[in-house]
């Protein structure tokens, strides 16, 4: 008897979970599925099954723990047969630094799934995996993701870190979270019937409310987010988790809270972020980074603030070229400049990766709510969902019809009566948390595939340097002139121009050595028809260089002696080359 009850319980749980679009834990296997969202535990499970299925190509590590002691995982893909990971360009991808921005992790998982499952069957992917080292952290804000699922939320809440902060300056910490009054797992809106209210029922869709015109009789007062005044201070839901915004807590160009809201008390005060920073600093080969967020449909590049000045024009060329291609791969997404087209942010992750590590970083804002349509294909609409001004009445009506007829009504909760301890008879309703910034699961596959393809496009453009000793000319009995060309036929240079300008780390090294051989002079060959060389004053046998994207650089040496001349090229991000020639 007991056993069948237990079975019934299990089946019930499984059915309940699948209703919400969750997959059961033991259902996760390779290849991964992308018709649902993964909880934190399911992401961990997915990484584990990927690692188990491809043990030779992957490494799974815990890079740190969060404030609530949850583990932050990184999966590294590298083919040891084509070299050690640090000897290759590094590609970094992460997501979900804001706890509510879920689909970012699915993009990371799809990217990993693609590289691993297609390895050996797809020539392009096989070459790609052999070429770079990949570092992927699908969930940066593990507490945020966990609580977004486990607690009632709006699609925008649970964004920050679980670091207690007295937001309302009443001496209490995180004492007034939103309250799920009707227990449906969502934080919706509250409204109350009020003849003096500023809103009235929309004549077209009774679920909506529109503002009254001057002189018009009102019907509703909006009471705000679902909740009660937990601390009796007259305000509702004013002190929830934090507020520390993990994407303002990074240590490059960090500014204190009063200049940059959510910055935290000092750079990298977030313990999980510190762990990730330490991990990243072990991978100086990272040259391209993607950090995924929602929403809006953008690929953003830095700098994060105007005060940092413009990026080097040659770096802008690289970012423009990749960014404009991304716009073609993910139609509708716009390639923009972070501080200019959006707003200034101090201490964000993009600036950290660009400046401290010397990478090219894109922030991907996933999903455009304008794709939630229900309209006559002939009709052109100007209505947009503006990030700052919100949506127009027209758009709201359309979105509700989309909810009804395309999303099976799963995105919107009908207004229902509720007896509120302070306000009395009210109604609760509105958009649920798995909506608005998150596409309905049926759109997920398109989103993850296209964005992973954008990352793949960039990953193909990491620097590939070839060395050609294109001339050895004897000057006299023992003196030779050696000319060496380093060619890079990919878009990214072997070192960003910004890093060179700031002297952020040593440049690439071109070194000549050999038994019985002495380098008399050497330098960059700027015009090989006219023999123009920028001679290096000291130690000509060691040259500091950079190989431009889609370009070349040439060096000339005057070498005395006979025998084997060993030529070595070593780059932090573009690998190593060693050649020998006989003099």
């Amino acid at each position: 008897m007991k056993k069948s009850l237990k079975n019934i319980a299990i089946i019930t749980v499984i059915l309940l979970l699948s209703v919400n679009g969750y997959s059961q834990l033991d259902d996760i296997k390779v290849p991964l599925r992308f018709d649902h969202y993964y909880t934190y535990d399911q992401v961990v499970q997915a990484l584990k099954v990927l690692h188990k299925a491809y043990p030779d190509l992957t490494k799974l590590e815990v890079v740190g723990k969060s404030e609530e002691n949850r583990e932050i995982y990184a999966l590294t893909i590298n083919n040891p047969k084509t070299g050690d990971e640090l000897g290759k360009p590094g590609v970094y991808v992460d997501g979900n630094i804001h706890g509510n921005e879920l689909q970012a992790s699915e993009v990371c998982l799809y990217f990993l799934n693609t590289l691993l499952t297609k390895y050996g069957n797809n020539e392009k992917i096989t070459k790609l995996v052999d070429k770079n080292a990949y570092y992927v952290i699908p969930v940066v804000n593990v507490d945020g993701r966990y609580h977004f699922y486990a607690d009632a939320n709006t699609s925008s809440s649970n964004r920050g870190l679980r670091r207690p902060k007295d937001d309302d300056r009443d001496g209490l910490f995180d004492e007034d979270f939103p309250d799920d009054l009707d227990g449906d797992g969502n934080i919706c809106r509250m409204r109350k019937k009020d003849p003096f209210g500023q809103y009235k029922t929309d004549p077209e869709d009774p679920r909506l409310m529109i503002r009254v015109k001057p002189g018009e009789k009102g019907e509703w007062t909006m009471l705000g987010q679902e909740g009660i005044d937990n601390d009796g201070d007259g305000r509702v839901n004013e002190d929830s988790e934090g507020y520390v915004d993990p994407n303002r807590n990074w240590s490059f160009n960090w500014a204190p809270q009063y200049v940059q809201g959510g910055a935290g008390d000092y750079p990298l005060s977030g313990v999980g972020l510190k762990g990730i920073a330490d991990f990243i600093m072990q991978k100086p080969n990272i040259i391209i980074g993607y950090a995924f967020h929602n929403s809006g449909g953008m690929f953003l590049r830095g700098p994060g603030t105007k005060s940092q000045g413009k990026l080097h024009p040659k770096d802008i060329e690289v970012m423009d070229w990749l960014g404009e291609n991304n716009e073609k791969i993910v139609p509708g997404y716009r390639y923009l400049v972070s501080w200019k087209d959006l707003y200034s942010t101090y201490g964000d992750f993009g600036d950290f990766l660009d400046n401290v590590v010397g990478a090219y970083t894109y922030i991907g804002e996933l999903f455009m709510s304008s794709s939630e349509t229900y309209r006559d294909p002939e009709k052109k609409t100007e209505e947009e969902d503006d990030m700052f001004r919100g949506s127009s009445n027209e758009r709201n009506r359309e979105k509700l019809k989309y909810n009804d007829h395309v999303a099976m009504g799963e995105l919107y909760k009908e207004w229902k009566e509720y007896d509120h301890p302070t306000y009395g008879k009210i109604e609760i309703g509105g958009w649920v948390k798995m909506s608005s910034r998150l596409p309905h699961p049926f759109m997920l596959l398109d989103l993850v595939h296209r964005n992973a393809s954008a990352v793949i496009f960039s990953a193909e453009q990491t620097p590939e340097v070839e060395m050609e000793v294109f001339e050895i000319k004897k000057i006299d009995k023992t003196l030779s002139r050696v000319r060496i060309r380093l060619v890079n036929d990919k878009a990214m240079p072997s070192m960003s121009y910004h890093s060179i300008q700031k002297n952020a780390y040593p440049k690439d090294i071109l070194k000549l050595s050999g038994q019985g051989i002495k380098v008399i002079s050497g330098g960059q060959l700027t015009d090989n028809y006219r023999d123009k060389v920028n001679y290096k004053e000291y130690k000509p046998e060691v040259q500091f260089c950079q190989v431009p994207g889609f370009g070349k650089v040439e060096y000339q040496f005057l070498v005395s002696g006979k025998g084997n001349l060993v030529i070595e090229y070593e780059s932090r991000k573009a690998g190593k080359i060693k050649k020998q020639v006989k003099l």
């Binding site: 007295d166 009443d170 909006m222 009796g232 004013e238 240590s251 204190p256 009063y258 809201g261």
Partner: protein, 684 residues
């Protein structure tokens, strides 16, 4: 065994008496360190451990961090709450030697600990956290040979971005145990000898037709043969400039980011984890007790004249060409944000990208200036005239700047010794000084003789355009104040690099001191040396640390003079009191409750900077008790600030049928608070 006191020798008695007069520490108390010598970082730490053992009930050791060179950073906590996790008393946080190049500051920190523990009234009602050495790796250089002054910790760092790390440091070529300088005759040289003292060098004055003769280098060889000397020494990061305010990225020794080394990261974590910290002291090379923190930096936003970026003007209904005040902008923004969203200064500043405060707030300079005057008076009364070179201004990325600008706490600092000033033969006794100008009104300034103003401008080295006439007109027209002139002069003095034609006054002071006080041991006379690549050079120059570290015999007297002033400042910590309460029955069981609260101290809480950055914890009045109900007002009322020596009044309306006892608590984590109880009789 009878010990006859009469058998003590006269010499012993003499030295005992001398020690008594020299030290302010209670007679009979053994100090944990012998303040007649300098101590290595591990000796300093051991001294703290001894103190903690001796005074176990009221002291406790915190192991804060380990440096890259595996040296411990140790904090000594002193107070009556050492064993409580819940701190109710405010605290003072003292750090020493953050750059690791000021040995006397570590001694001073331990001296302070000795002093505090000698009398329990010094830690009555407050907690002390004392960390004597913030950069132990760098501090060790003072005790190693060859002697070199280098602020970097032991973290390996490739300073010159070549193919090696830490490959080209100092070399003691002449084996004298010091790293000094080399001068070489070189066609590209810019230095010439100072006529009055050929040991000193000055830059050639091309405008006078002089040609440079010498190049100056740090003593060493070009270890990596790249043409540069000592460009990539061993280490590391200067912990003392690794803090977030005005932190500079991409420097050779500043560190990758603020808090990139454990010494600074864990320190910031500790301070943040202890919100009871009410005040900080930094012992090193700055002196906010003597010289108020300097302003004059560009970039501070004037909150009364903000321009709104074009892309927001339409949204706010604002004019892109007009300047608005912060409060005006808050009013503009309120109608367009979702309800319940709180608009504060901080939110607006963040949204508009206004940037950080970089100059001390005017209102805070009031107490800094007042204390500085009092300190000068105190020193004068003790017979110590201030005739030494000025303390250094705070460095960008320093701990004291972080404490003031980011924590918003009353931040003080102290240096203990600099080179004595060289007395100029011609004394302009009645010349104008910057200090006088700072206190002058416009009218007083305009009443001065033009000659005096001219002489002053010449003395401070004002640029040629700033003639007396021009300055007078600017003051007349209200475009300039005397205080502003003095401020600009101070700023110029700090920025002054040794001018062409004049020897560096600091070097002049150094050789004078070396010759007259320490028997020439502060400066090495130039002597020939055959350098492997430079050929014939002369090695000589200042001995490291001569400019900031006095002979060990002076330590005790310097500390006994200056360290006690720290206790005077700490006495001025904000002290909150409930001044008066008034309960007025209104009838029907309704009462009006008025409470006056005051800050009994001169230092405001929070400081004006703390008010601006909203970082210090809030001040609260909390009403609690049974059988009463608030009709108007809140149980927890936040007080935005209590300026020094000011009071504020708060009013509630409450109802109590049966009568009640109300607890009124005035509290904040980082100040002494107060509590009162009021009885209400039952009402009808």
């Amino acid at each position: 065994m009878k010990m006859s006191r009469l058998s003590y020798s006269k010499t012993t008695l003499f030295f005992t008496l001398l020690w008594l007069f020299a030290s302010v520490i209670s007679p009979g108390q053994q100090t944990t360190l012998d303040y007649s010598k300098y101590h290595q970082p591990d000796e300093i730490n051991a001294s703290l451990v001894r103190l903690a053992k001796q005074y176990g009930q009221v002291s406790r050791i915190h192991d804060l961090a380990l440096s890259p060179g595996k040296r411990k950073l140790v904090i000594l906590e002193i107070g009556n709450e050492v064993n409580s996790v819940d701190k109710r008393l405010p605290a003072v946080f003292v750090v020493g030697n953050m750059e690791g190049i000021v040995p006397i500051s570590s001694e001073a920190a331990v001296y302070l600990a000795d002093l505090i523990l000698s009398d329990k009234s010094y830690y009555d009602g407050l907690t002390w956290y004392i960390m004597p050495c913030g950069n132990p790796d760098a501090a060790m250089h003072y005790f190693n040979r060859p002697l070199v002054k280098d602020a970097r910790n032991d973290l390996q760092h490739n300073d010159d971005m070549d193919e090696f790390t830490d490959e080209d440091g100092w070399n003691d070529l002449n084996g004298d145990g010091w790293i000094t300088q080399m001068r070489v005759k070189d066609p590209e040289g810019i230095w010439v000898l100072v006529e009055s003292d050929p040991r000193l060098m000055r830059k050639a004055d091309y405008s006078k037709g002089e040609k440079g003769i010498y190049k100056l280098y740090d003593e060493g060889i070009d270890d990596d043969r790249d043409g540069k000397f000592y460009e990539d020494g061993p280490g590391g990061v200067n912990v003392g400039v690794n803090f977030p305010h005005l932190f500079k990225h991409f420097t050779a020794t500043g560190g990758l980011w603020s808090g990139s080394v454990d010494e600074s990261y864990k320190l910031m974590k500790f301070v943040t984890d202890h919100p009871e910290i009410a005040m900080t002291f930094t012992l090193g090379s700055t002196n906010f007790c003597l010289v108020p923190p300097k302003g004059g930096r560009k970039g501070s936003v004037d909150l009364n004249r903000i321009k709104i970026p074009k892309r927001f003007t339409e949204m706010f209904g604002a004019d892109p060409d007009k300047s608005y005040s912060m409060s005006e902008i808050i009013e503009m923004v309120k109608p367009i944000v979702p309800e319940g969203f709180e608009i504060t200064e901080s939110v607006v500043a963040g949204f508009l990208g206004l940037g950080a405060v970089v100059n001390p707030m005017k209102e805070d300079l009031v107490f800094y200036t007042d204390f500085s005057e009092k300190y000068k008076k105190y020193l004068k009364e003790k017979g110590a005239e201030i005739d030494r070179l000025d303390p250094e201004p705070a460095k960008d990325g320093s701990f004291e700047l972080w404490s003031y600008y980011h924590l918003g706490l009353p931040t003080f600092s102290m240096d203990f010794w600099t080179l004595p000033k060289v007395k100029e033969k011609k004394g302009k006794k009645d010349g104008l000084t910057s200090d006088q100008l700072k206190k002058m009104s416009n009218e007083e300034f305009l009443a001065l003789e033009k000659d005096k103003i001219e002489a002053y401008l010449k003395e401070v080295g004002a640029p040629k355009q700033f003639q007396a006439d021009m300055v007078i007109n600017m003051v007349k027209g209200g475009r300039m104040t005397p205080a502003k002139i003095a401020e600009m002069a101070d700023k110029m003095k700090d920025d002054k690099k040794p001018e062409a034609g004049k020897p560096d006054p600091k070097m002049k002071a150094l050789v004078t001191f070396s010759d007259s006080v320490i028997n020439g041991k502060g400066y090495v006379n130039w002597s020939l040396y055959n350098h492997p690549t430079l050929g014939e050079v002369e090695i000589g120059g200042p001995v490291p640390f001569t400019d900031n570290t006095p002979p060990a015999t002076m330590i005790d007297s310097l500390l006994s003079l200056q360290v006690p002033w720290i206790l005077e400042i700490v006495k001025k910590m904000p002290d909150l009191k409930i001044l008066k309460t008034e309960l007025k029955p209104q009838g029907a069981g309704v009462y009006e409750l008025k409470v006056w609260v005051e800050n009994k101290s001169f230092i405001p809480i929070p400081t004006a900077m703390g008010k601006r950055n909203q970082r210090p914890p809030p001040i609260l009045i909390i009403l609690s008790g049974k059988d009463f109900e608030l009709l108007s007002g809140k149980n927890r009322t936040t007080i935005s600030d209590l300026p020094g020596l000011k009071s504020k009044k708060f009013t509630w309306l409450l109802k109590s049928e049966k009568g009640s006892v109300i607890n009124i608590e005035l509290k904040t984590p980082n100040a002494r608070g107060d509590m009162k109880q009021i009885e209400i009789g039952g009402g009808k």
